[in-house]
Symmetry: C3
Subunit: 271 residues, 3 copies
């Protein structure tokens, strides 16, 4: 991979405080050449599921070797581990609380360690309330400077992933759920392009029903329907999504996380 | 111009998702040396007028050769073109939907092309819903790496600009409109310093009326009036604006986009 | 110190406009190698106290020589000075309005000047309403390029700090106030670790009362109490804070800036 010093940051710290910048300062204090890129700091506080989705939206698109530092960490100060790992060509540093779920489902695990080396993790020096600044940031700086993550600690027995609903095949169709509502009000489901093409290779004649309302066949993009109308499509992450052209599906369909999205075989049932 | 790798990003993606970072990753994957600067990602969704204003606030102040990438793109996936252009010393990459309006009014056009070269735009590989990540970002990376924008495609016949109200000279004064309300609640009009000094070279004895309320003469800065009081001034973009010292003009005057702002010749009419 | 070109920005401009990017462009136009890091742009408009707190949260953690540029500046265009200073190993550029208060309390003053050199501050060229873009940004670029801050102007007689409440020792305990509510709803007080350990070196048997409600002893981290329960701790800035594990103390205790926080000697009074 080409030599670079790119690290991303994903937190639930918000942007009104100095906490994110304190972390950036602590990374730069170890590695002044770091190129720091924000993924988001506006994940809802303590929302590990949302953070896991946002991380998977962004991480695969970075240059090989990029380090993704995630600090959505309601268990800070407890016994939860801090992990460093390689998935695909990307590197990750994160609390072991499930935030790696979608990345681990879509990118092959290369290596994983529990961060423990006392040279990088000095419990005495670290605050108990801000491991992002006092542990993850300096460790990130050392990784950017060339430290192999294998040197940070032992391989853990396992790592946490979130226990999420899976789509179920039942008479009449494939039934999944909304697992994320994005900034545009789009309803993103747990049904993947692979789920659909596995069941119906041709994909013709299918319709989508969301929160009890038929929203038509699977389309290529939002603008094929009139403004204000709902539309089903496979989104840029490869997941089935219901949106509204120039509008907000979560409002039009009064639906949110947990709402049912189904792919049905009878087009008449889906308008 | 000095050699640099600066690109700005302006979107309506919000900051709670991974979409902006996915674009940044895709730029860095082509050009790892890119220096990425956010203009804004909090433009109201699909609001091309607001994006056009924000782009013109920021772009002229960057080093010559900076590339400004705008993705406020409600027409994604339709036949709307993607354009690359030079205005003044700056370079721009944007969907052809009017977002270039204020830049094109204030900076001379150098070159413009419709981005079509299949080496940079592979329709098969691109999602139909996220051209920002799949087309504009890699094209931006190639431009930063030195690709001449003239090689990206043919010159278009024309490009879109927004059809905006223009100030009108009528008995008693010059009548314009609020076209933008900024973060501080300031009411920014379509009346320029040039409009005013063209009609009244001395500028003395003029008063401003906004939403039916006299707000006094044109001042140099906010703090010349008492806190809580309204004030008219020519802002840092050269546009007539009504603000409130340490307050919010949009609330005090109950005015927003479309409200009338007038420059009147009788100071008595303007308090 | 190692050679770098890091500058931070702290403003109340919000992120929906092009104002922050205009400042960044103006810095990069003078110093294209600048590495720009956002501290925050979401400080409440004109809130100097919040800006002072946020600056002190972040600045100490950056590499030596970092330049911190603050533009929370309700007095723009008036006679208020623009100052450049060194505190500890960090450099600062800021309007003389008290925004340096907490930095000046926790980091030793090295040098301070009033920015006046006409080569860097050209009043004729500068707008009266956007000194951030027209004065602070180019001056910052020159400092990053190597200009000594001592060359920018004369030493001022003094500089402004905010007149803040101080904790008082009275019968039964130490009584302070909430001076900041952070993004997580944590109530941050003006009582420091030093205040507490000065009075009670052992720190055992102490309890905290916030807004009239006992919240227990001083703990090490949030997660030692049950989710939803309040907890007192010394935070990552060394200040006494009342939070709620996975919740919002400002809501649970219905408290905000100005609320009383007391350290009391009788643990029975504190649950």
């Amino acid at each position: 991979m080409s030599k670079h010093y790119i690290a991303t940051l994903l937190t639930d710290f918000g942007t009104a405080e100095g906490y994110v910048a304190a972390m950036k300062g602590a990374i730069l204090a170890v590695c002044p050449r770091a190129q720091l890129v924000d993924i988001s700091h506006d994940v809802p506080a303590h929302d590990i599921l949302a953070a896991a989705m946002v991380l998977a939206q962004a991480a695969p698109h970075f240059p090989a070797g990029t380090l993704h530092v995630t600090v959505v960490d309601p268990g800070v100060g407890t016994e939860r581990k801090i992990l460093a790992a390689r998935f695909g060509s990307q590197r990750f540093l994160f609390p072991d609380n499930g935030v790696i779920t979608f990345v681990s489902e879509s990118m092959p695990l290369g290596a994983i360690v529990s961060v423990r080396d006392p040279r990088y993790v000095a419990p005495g020096a670290a605050s108990m309330t801000f491991h992002g600044r006092d542990i993850l940031a300096p460790v990130a700086g050392h990784i950017l400077n060339g430290l192999d993550i294998g040197k940070l600690g032992p391989k853990p027995d396992t790592y946490k992933t979130l226990d999420l609903p899976v789509p179920s095949r039942r008479e009449g169709g494939l039934f999944g759920q909304v697992i994320h509502v994005d900034h545009f009000g789009n309803l993103i489901s747990n049904i993947s392009q692979g789920d659909i093409s596995g069941l119906w290779p041709g994909q013709s004649g299918l319709g989508v029903v969301c929160a009890g309302r038929p929203v038509g066949p699977i389309q290529a993009t939002y603008a094929v329907v009139e403004p204000g109308q709902p539309v089903a499509l496979v989104n840029s992450m490869g997941l089935l999504e219901v949106g509204v052209n120039r509008g907000r599906a979560c409002e039009l369909l009064a639906a949110g996380v947990g709402a049912e999205i189904a792919v049905v075989e009878s087009p008449s049932a889906a308008r």
